[in-house]
Amino acid sequence: MAWFRKERKERPPPREKLEIPQDAWDKCSSCGTVDLTDKFERSHMVCHNCGHHGKIPAGTYIELITDPGTFTELFGDLTSVDPLGFDGYPDKLARAYNKVGKQDAILTGVGDIHGVTTCIGAMEFAFMGGSMGSVVGEKIARLARKALEDRAPLVLVSTSGGARMQEGVLSLMQLAKTSAMIAALKEEGIPFISVLTNPTTGGVSASYAMQGDVNIGEPKAVIGFAGARVIKQTIGQDLPDGFQRSEFLLEHGMLDMVVSRLEMKDTLGRLLRMMLGKEALELTG
């Protein structure tokens, strides 16, 4: 061993400075798996390790379930106002419109799902927690009216913490408004499929999200009326594992099925084609 030999310290080769943008990596909020953001996005935020369904923007969800290039946005000009003069609401709105987009907490329009022209709404959680104010209620009511007039099925993808409290009772009235239109649709025998994603709670779960002819939950989505914090406070104990998750609701009879986001389009397509008496499609290939 040439321990005595004076070793010339070799300088490490000059590293190429890699420009790694901060958002290149993403982490699954459930199992902690870290991977390229791009890879997460290509799997629509479904973790390839644990199957956890992360949140995706409304537009991405609609792309995921519609035939390419068929979606046209409707009622996109509806904009929230501050009806009560609620402290801080105008600022919050301005920030959300700026950061998240002008669709407010729901993107609505018409598109094809495996060839079935469908009225589609997808909620946007990033916009004030997907809260339902007057704009969300009005967009859903108009979309349902269009479904009624065109005799086209309705699909709503929900993700929401509930009513938007900055609009006070007017936001509560959106539960009544949307329910009135869904009831009218049902009287005419037009199919309505509700897709509940993480989370769907409060006023949205207590109205249209639970009114589907078929209710579909995404895996492990939190679905319920009361928030976990409020329940914990009320009963003074911790909530059991899996409480208020899709699988729990399926077992208790509130959902028809739990379906992975990656299979949502095919599931919707098969259901809609059957409900409307259209012939089966070859979905593979």
């Binding site: 509806l78 904009t79 009806p83 704009v135 409290m165 009544a176 109205s207 639970m210 319920g224 928030g227």
Partner: protein, 320 residues
């Protein structure tokens, strides 16, 4: 019964009442005539009452709406209606005493009356769960609304709840679904529905009985998407800012009339409903009768179209 209960702003009223009571006692004991002294004091008492009650701030209204001596659904059912026959159970799971319902007569006409019922004491509150219904309560209400529809009997609802109960069993049995289903069915129920908020109108749990042709509110009741305490906790992380939240949420009857959410305010007697429950029941009955007789004249299709229009018009936004 919490007969000694008083709100802080009621203190001057209670003091004056005691003073009058004291004078009367003294007069009885000594066989004196104190009418000359009592008269002005009584005038002063009603002046004080109107001064205090006409200037309540929103959170004081919340306190009045939750007053433990405020009349509850059964008080009105007994005072304003006759021949009440209670009907119970959802036919699926159990009877939920947080909601009382049954057939009754109002001015001789049969109605289906359905109301949330709080308890007057601990024992009653255990039974009635403080007026916070489980899904089976809403399903009982729904079952009886459908009976009313078949019998062509109008539905009268009395709303008084802090909210639908947030518990394990309630969630397990589908609190959200129960409310959602009531809304959907009430929107198309082929018989008149008149809802009155008599105390607390707490969010979805209140709306589940209030999708109606006419929505009335007793003067000192409140109707809100969230409790002021809950709102303050979420927005400012501080439940003590409930007074500020009560103001911001616009939950009093005058604000809601202005927003077009309710159709009429039923005036309460001087010193609020708990000061004169009988007079309040008379006012409620008068208003209910008026609205029911005008709704009875409508053809069912027109009734339903107007009900839908009413709720479809709610909300404020700009379009482009």
């Amino acid at each position: 019964m919490a007969s000694n209960f008083q709100l802080d702003f009621e203190q001057p009223i209670v003091e004056l009442e005691r003073q009058i009571e004291g004078l009367r006692k003294l007069a009885d004991e000594r066989e004196m005539d104190v009418d000359r002294e009592v008269g002005p004091l009584k005038d002063k008492l009603s002046e004080l009452r109107s001064e205090i009650y006409e200037n309540l701030d929103p959170f004081q209204r919340v306190q009045v709406a939750r007053h433990p001596r405020r009349p509850y659904s059964l008080d009105y059912i007994n005072e304003a209606f006759t021949d009440f026959i209670e009907l119970r159970g959802d036919r699926q799971f159990r009877d939920d005493p947080a909601i009382v319902a049954g057939l009754a007569r109002l001015d001789g006409h049969t109605v289906m009356v359905i109301g949330q019922q709080k308890g007057r004491n601990t024992k009653e509150n255990l039974k009635r769960n403080f007026g916070m219904a489980h899904p089976e309560g809403y399903r009982k209400a729904l079952r009886l609304m459908l009976v009313a529809e078949r019998m062509k009997i109008p539905v009268v609802t009395l709303v008084d709840t802090a909210g639908a109960y947030p518990g394990l069993g309630a969630e397990e049995r589908g609190q959200a679904e129960a409310i959602a289903r009531n809304l959907e069915v009430m929107a198309r129920l082929r018989t008149p529905i008149v809802a009155t908020i008599i105390g607390e109108g707490g969010s979805g749990g209140a709306l589940a009985l209030a999708l109606a042709d006419r929505v009335l509110m007793l003067e000192n009741s409140i109707y809100s998407v969230i409790t002021p305490e809950g709102c303050a906790a979420i927005l400012w992380n501080d439940a003590t800012k409930k007074a500020r939240a009560a103001e911001a949420l616009k939950i009093t009857a005058p604000s809601l009339l202005e927003l077009g959410v309710i159709d009429e305010i039923i005036k309460e007697p001087l010193g609020a409903a708990h000061n004169d429950p009988s007079a309040t029941a008379v006012a409620l009955k008068k208003s209910l009768s008026k609205h029911l007789s005008s709704l009875r004249k409508l053809k069912t299709d027109k009734l339903l179209a107007r009900r839908a229009e009413k709720f479809l018009a709610m909300g404020k936004f700009t379009d482009g």
